[in-house]
C-alpha cells in the first residue's frame, strides 16, 4: 500500500480510537489500541519489503521497545522501534529498513528507530543507558523468530543477569536527576504528569524495578505492584494518569504532558480519569486532589520498590546519626526507621502517640525515613492514635521538637502523607494538595509550607558550593538572625499555620489563618506571650513583602511597617519568614536583589522600632469616621467586651499606656492586668508568675502591676539578678494614672526554680519584699552565687547612646553591651541612684548582645546634656564592674 493511502487509513483508525476514548475515558485502552494499530502498520510496510525481497525473511527481527514495547502508545507519543539484524544481513536489510522508516514518518509517526545486531544488546550501554532500559520492554513484532529468540533469551537475558545491578543503579540515578528537576516534589501547581515525581514515568520505573528483581518482563501495569497489597490502588493510579495523558495529547495535539490550569479546568469539566457513576463536571480543586492522591500512590510504590532493591531514587541526603534510647519503641538502621512491633506496654508501638511522635522527631533530627511496614502500620493506626492523643503543653513540646529538627520538612511531609499532621492540626487539612492559581507560586499550598520550613532550616546549613556566591552570602546573613531567636519553635509553628486560611473562603487569608491558629494555640495550651507571637506573625506575614513594594528608604513606609511588628523578636521572625516565604514560591524567586531589599528594610525597621514608643499612647476614645463620631480600636473593643459592667474602669486603666503595650498583649492578658489593679486594696504589689522550666532553656515570666514609685524597675531587676535569673526580654509601661505594668522574661541560670519547687514561693515573696522596699537589695546580692562565666563567642562592645528626638518629653537611652547576668540590674540601679524615672523600658537580647532601651525623665523633663554625660560615665563604670 502506498504510504499516502496508509496515512489515510492510519488517521481514520486514530479518529476511531479518539472517539472511543472520548466515550469511555479509558486511557490505557486507547494507548493499547494505538500500539496495536502501529504494530499493524509496521508489519504492513515490512511485509511489502519482504514481498519484494524474500531473503529478508532470515536474519532480521522487528521489535518494539520502550513504551511501544509495553504496548502503550499514547496518541502523540514517539514510536521506539528496533531492527535486530544479524551482521551478515545488514547490507541486505539497510535499504528496506530505511524505506519502512520513511513510510512510517510519512504516516505522521514520530519514529525513533535503531538497527543493531543482537550481540550489541547484551551489555549495558554506559553512554546510552536509556537504550538498555528500553530493552527491558522488548516485544516481538515480526521477522525472523530465531533472531528474536537469541536477542531475548541470550542477549537481553545476559544483560539482565550481568548488568542488572548496574541497570538498577542507572535507573535510580536517572530517576533521581529527573525528580531533582522538579524540586523533588510531586506537588506542582501545573505538573508534568509524565515526568514529575509520581508521574507515569515513575510507574514505568516501578515496572522495570520489578522486572529486574524477578528477572522477567512485567506484563501490564498490575505486575509492578503484584506483590503488594496496594496493587489495586497502583493500577487505579496508572489508569487515571493514562486517561489524563491521552486527554492532554488530544487537547494539545502533541506529546505535551503539562497539566496547565486551563487543562485542569477542562479535565475537571469532563471528569477525566474519575471512576464512579457521578455525572457532570467537578470542581478543578477537587479533581486536582484526585490527581495528587494517585500520584502519591505511584510515588509510594516507587519508593517501596526502590527500598526493596536497595536503591535511592530521591535526591541523596545525608542521614545524621542520632542516639535512640533502647526503650524508644523504634530503631534506626541504615537510615530507615522501624517502629517496634510492641511497645513497653505490650501493644503495637504504632498505637502509641508518644512513640510515633518521638519517631517523627527522630526523623526530623536525623533525616531517616520510615520503613514501608512502619508507614503502613501508622496509617492503619490513625483511629487508635486519634483516641490516644492527648493535647496540651506535652503535645506542643513534641511538635516543637519536630519543627525545630534540621530535617523538619522531611518529617512533616511524612506526617502529612500518613494523616498524622492532620491529627494534631486538623486545620491543615484544608490546604492538602490545594492549588491556588497565581502567576508566582509553583507548588501546592501544603508543599509551599514545607518548602518554606526547609528554607528556614537551610539557613543554618553549611555553605553550599553549587549555589551562586551572592545568594549564599545572603543566606549566611539571614542565618545569623535565626541564631538570635529565643524560641524558634514559634516561628516554625507560625510557618506551618500561615496559609491554612487559604483552605477557607475568605478575602484575607492571613486573618483567616490567624483565626484558625487561635484554636490550635488553645488546644496546645500555649502561654499568652508565645501564642501572641505566633498569632501576630501569622496575621502580619504579608506586611514585610507589602512594605518592600513601597519606598523602603522613606521614613513613613518604615514607620508604618514598624507599627505593625512592634517588637524586635517579631521583626526578626517576620524577616526570616518573609525570606523563606519568597524562596519557597519557586527556586529562583529570591534574587540577591530581593534579599538585599529585605535586609535593608529589616535594618531600617530595627533602628526605628524603639524610637517613638513613648510618644504613641493609647487614647481609648478616638475621634474619627466620616460622621466624626467615636471609634474604638478593634482590640480595645475586644478588651472592653471581656469586662461587662466595668468598661469605664477598663478604659481608664488603658488610657495613656504606650500603644506598644496594647499591641503586644492579648485582650485576655490586659483583662488580667486590669483585674489586678482592682485588688490593690488587698495588696498594692500584684504579681503573676509563669514558670517555664518544662523544657531546657525555656523562659519564665513575671509581671508586676502596681502604682508607680521610685526604684520599681531597678528593684525587680535586682531581685532577678540576686536569684541568678538571666533576663531575656523585659518591658515596663505606665498609664496616665501612674499604674505600671513591668514584665520580665528570664531563664533560670542555676535551675533553682526547676529543681526546688518550694523555692518558687520564696522567690516570689523575695521579689515582692524588694520592690516594696521591705528588704535590702545589697544584702540579697551579697549572698548571690556567681556563675562561672564562659568567654563570649561573639564579643559585643559597650555602646551608650542618647536620642533627644524620639520623644517630645523624655530622653531615649540605648545601651548595647555583652549580655551578662546582672547587666540589667547594673543599668537600672545606675538610673535609680540618680533619681531618673523610667517612663518606658524595652529590654531585648540578640544572641550574646543585650540591647536595652529606656525612656527617661527627671522631674517630668528630659535629661540635660550634662546629666547625659554624667550618666554615660556612670553606666560605663557599672557595666564594667558587673562584667568583672
Amino acid at each position: 500500500m502506498p504510504s499516502g493511502t496508509a496515512r489515510g487509513v492510519y488517521e481514520e483508525r486514530m479518529a476511531e480510537i479518539r472517539g472511543s476514548f472520548e466515550s469511555s475515558g479509558d486511557g490505557l485502552q486507547a494507548a493499547a489500541a494505538r500500539s496495536a494499530l502501529v504494530d499493524e502498520l509496521v508489519m504492513q510496510f515490512w511485509e511489502q519489503q519482504l514481498a519484494a525481497n524474500p531473503k529478508l525473511g532470515k536474519g532480521v527481527a522487528i521489535c518494539a521497545i520502550g513504551g511501544f514495547g509495553r504496548g502503550q502508545l499514547f496518541p502523540y507519543s514517539d514510536v521506539d522501534l528496533m531492527f535486530s539484524v544479524e551482521k551478515d544481513a545488514q547490507k541486505l536489510a539497510k535499504e528496506s529498513i530505511r524505506s519502512v522508516s520513511q513510510s512510517l514518518w510519512d504516516c505522521g509517526l514520530q519514529l525513533s528507530f535503531v538497527a543493531r545486531p543482537p550481540g550489541e544488546c547484551e551489555r549495558l550501554d554506559a553512554a546510552n543507558p536509556e537504550f538498555s532500559l528500553a530493552l527491558l520492554d522488548l516485544r516481538w513484532l515480526g521477522g525472523d523468530q530465531d533472531v528474536f529468540a537469541r536477542l531475548r533469551e541470550k542477549c537481553v537475558a545476559k544483560l539482565r543477569a550481568r548488568d542488572g545491578k548496574a541497570l538498577g543503579m542507572e535507573l535510580a540515578k536517572l530517576t533521581s536527576e529527573r525528580h531533582a528537576k522538579f524540586g523533588d516534589t510531586l506537588f506542582h501547581l501545573e505538573p508534568n504528569i509524565k515526568d514529575c515525581p509520581g508521574g507515569l514515568r515513575d510507574a514505568n520505573v516501578c515496572q522495570w524495578l520489578v522486572g529486574l528483581r524477578t528477572g522477567k518482563n512485567p506484563q501490564g501495569v498490575g505486575d509492578a505492584a503484584a506483590s503488594s497489597p496496594s496493587s489495586e490502588e497502583f493500577q487505579e493510579a496508572v489508569a487515571f494518569l493514562a486517561a489524563v495523558r491521552c486527554f492532554l495529547h488530544y487537547r494539545h495535539e502533541r506529546d505535551d504532558n503539562v497539566l496547565d490550569w486551563q487543562a485542569q479546568d477542562a479535565a475537571a469539566k469532563h471528569r477525566i480519569g474519575l471512576q464512579g457513576s457521578g455525572r457532570g463536571s467537578v470542581d478543578a480543586a477537587y479533581w486536582m486532589r484526585a490527581y495528587f492522591r494517585h500520584a502519591r500512590v505511584i510515588e509510594k510504590c516507587l519508593l517501596r520498590e526502590a527500598e526493596g532493591a536497595g536503591l535511592e531514587v530521591e535526591t541523596p541526603s545525608t542521614v545524621r546519626r542520632i542516639r535512640v534510647p533502647e526503650q524508644a519503641g523504634f530503631q534506626i538502621k541504615a537510615g530507615v526507621l522501624e517502629l517496634s512491633e510492641t511497645s513497653g506496654s505490650g501493644v503495637d508501638a504504632a498505637y502509641e502517640p508518644d512513640i510515633v511522635l518521638a519517631a517523627f522527631r527522630a526523623m526530623a533530627e536525623s533525616g531517616a525515613r520510615l520503613s514501608q511496614s512502619s508507614e503502613e502500620r501508622i496509617a492503619n493506626a490513625i483511629p487508635r492514635l486519634s483516641s490516644n492523643l492527648e493535647e496540651g503543653p506535652g503535645l506542643w513540646r513534641q511538635l516543637s521538637a519536630i519543627l525545630t529538627g534540621q530535617r523538619a520538612g522531611h518529617a512533616l511531609r511524612a506526617m502529612h502523607a500518613l494523616g498524622v499532621l492532620e491529627l494534631i492540626l486538623p486545620e491543615f487539612h484544608g490546604i492538602d494538595a490545594l492549588v491556588i492559581r497565581d502567576a508566582y507560586h509553583r507548588y501546592t499550598v501544603d508543599e509551599h509550607t514545607f518548602v518554606l520550613i526547609d528554607t528556614l532550616h537551610g539557613l543554618k546549613a553549611d555553605p553550599k558550593k553549587d549555589v551562586r556566591k551572592e545568594v549564599e552570602e545572603w543566606r549566611v546573613k539571614f542565618g545569623a538572625i535565626l541564631a538570635e531567636l529565643q524560641n524558634p519553635g514559634l516561628l516554625y509553628l507560625a510557618a506551618v499555620l500561615h496559609d491554612t486560611g487559604k483552605g477557607r473562603v475568605s478575602e484575607n487569608h492571613a486573618a483567616e489563618s490567624a483565626r484558625l491558629a487561635q484554636s490550635v494555640l488553645s488546644r496546645l495550651e500555649m502561654d499568652g506571650y508565645d501564642g501572641g507571637v505566633v498569632l501576630r506573625l501569622i496575621e502580619t506575614h504579608l506586611e514585610m513583602s507589602a512594605a518592600m513594594r513601597r519606598d523602603i528608604f522613606d521614613a513613613e513606609t518604615v514607620r508604618a511597617f514598624v507599627g505593625k511588628v512592634q517588637t524586635h523578636e517579631s521583626l526578626r521572625m517576620l524577616t526570616l519568614f518573609t525570606y523563606a516565604d519568597i524562596a519557597a514560591v519557586h527556586p529562583d524567586a529570591l534574587t540577591p536583589w530581593k534579599a538585599e531589599n529585605l535586609w535593608r528594610l529589616y535594618i531600617a525597621a530595627a533602628n526605628q522600632l524603639d524610637r517613638n514608643v513613648d510618644e504613641v499612647r493609647v487614647h481609648t476614645r478616638v475621634s474619627g469616621g466620616a460622621l466624626g463620631g467615636w471609634r474604638k480600636d478593634e482590640k480595645i473593643t475586644r478588651v472592653l467586651s471581656l469586662v461587662p459592667g466595668k468598661e469605664a474602669a477598663m478604659e481608664q486603666f488603658l488610657e495613656g499606656f504606650p500603644e506598644r503595650y496594647v499591641s503586644t498583649r492579648s485582650a485576655e492578658t490586659m483583662r488580667q492586668h486590669f483585674e489586678m489593679t482592682q485588688r490593690f486594696a488587698e495588696d498594692p504589689f500584684q504579681m503573676t508568675f509563669q514558670h517555664g522550666a518544662t523544657q531546657s532553656g525555656s523562659v519564665s515570666e513575671i509581671t508586676l502591676v502596681t502604682q508607680d514609685r521610685p526604684r520599681l524597675f531597678a528593684g525587680m531587676a535586682a531581685a532577678l539578678a540576686a536569684w541568678g535569673m538571666n533576663v531575656v526580654t523585659a518591658d515596663a509601661f505606665a498609664n496616665q494614672a501612674g499604674v505600671v505594668v513591668d514584665t520580665f522574661r528570664f531563664t533560670d541560670s542555676f535551675k533553682t526554680l526547676e529543681l526546688n519547687e518550694s523555692e518558687r514561693d520564696r522567690f516570689l515573696s523575695s521579689v515582692r519584699d524588694l520592690v516594696a522596699g521591705r528588704a535590702s537589695v545589697e544584702k540579697l546580692l551579697s549572698g548571690r552565687r556567681r556563675a562561672k562565666r564562659r568567654p563570649p563567642r561573639v564579643a559585643a562592645e559597650t555602646k551608650i547612646e542618647f536620642d533627644e528626638t524620639a520623644s517630645s518629653h523624655s530622653t531615649l537611652l540605648q545601651v548595647i553591651a555583652q549580655d551578662i547576668p546582672g547587666l540589667l540590674r547594673a543599668i537600672s540601679a545606675t538610673l535609680s541612684e540618680r533619681g531618673y524615672n523610667v517612663e518606658v523600658a524595652l529590654v531585648d537580647t540578640e544572641g550574646e548582645t543585650a540591647i536595652d532601651v529606656f525612656y527617661l525623665t527627671t522631674g517630668g523633663k528630659r535629661l540635660t546634656p550634662a546629666q547625659e554625660a554624667e550618666l554615660h560615665q556612670g553606666l560605663m563604670e557599672a557595666i564594667e564592674a558587673n562584667s568583672r
Binding site: 513594594r549 513601597r550 519606598d551 523602603i552 528608604f553 522613606d554 534574587t591 536583589w593 530581593k594 538585599e596 531589599n597 535593608r600 535594618i603 531600617a604 530595627a606 533602628n607 559585643a796 562592645e797 555602646k799 548595647i816 540578640e846 548582645t849 540591647i851
Partner: protein, 112 residues
C-alpha cells in the same frame, strides 16, 4: 525606532508599567538593578553595628518603541516616577537600527 532605558525607584515599577500600558506600550523588559548617581551610598548603624549602603536598589526598564511613540513613553514614565527628590532615576534614549522577530523573521517596526 528608539530604545528607552529608564532607571527608576523599585516602588514606582507598578505605576510606571500601568502608565506605559495606558500609553499603548506593552513590551517592556525589566531588570533588578543596583547603583547610585548623585544619591551616593552611605553608612547605616544597626544596633551598634555598622552597615555600608554602597549601592541602592533600582529597577531598570528597557523598551523599544517607534519614533512617534518615544515622547509619549518618556512622558508616561516621568509622570509617575517623579517625586522631585534625589534618586528618582534617569532615562536614556538611543537609536535602534533594526528589530527582528525571531519567530517569523519580521523586521522593522512591525516586529516591535
Amino acid at each position: 525606532m528608539q530604545k528607552i532605558e529608564a532607571i527608576i525607584q523599585p516602588s514606582k515599577l507598578d505605576a510606571v508599567k500601568d502608565a506605559l500600558v495606558e500609553a499603548g506600550i506593552s513590551g517592556i523588559t525589566i531588570f533588578e538593578a543596583r547603583g547610585h548617581g548623585r544619591q551616593k551610598g552611605h553608612t547605616e548603624f544597626y544596633r551598634g553595628r555598622e552597615y555600608a549602603v554602597d549601592l541602592l536598589p533600582k529597577v531598570k526598564l528597557e523598551l523599544v518603541v517607534s519614533d512617534e511613540m518615544k515622547d509619549k513613553a518618556i512622558e508616561a514614565i516621568i509622570s509617575v516616577a517623579r517625586t522631585g527628590r534625589i534618586g528618582d532615576g534617569k532615562i536614556f534614549v538611543s537609536r535602534i537600527d533594526e528589530a527582528i522577530r525571531i519567530r517569523n523573521d519580521e523586521r522593522g517596526e512591525i516586529a516591535l
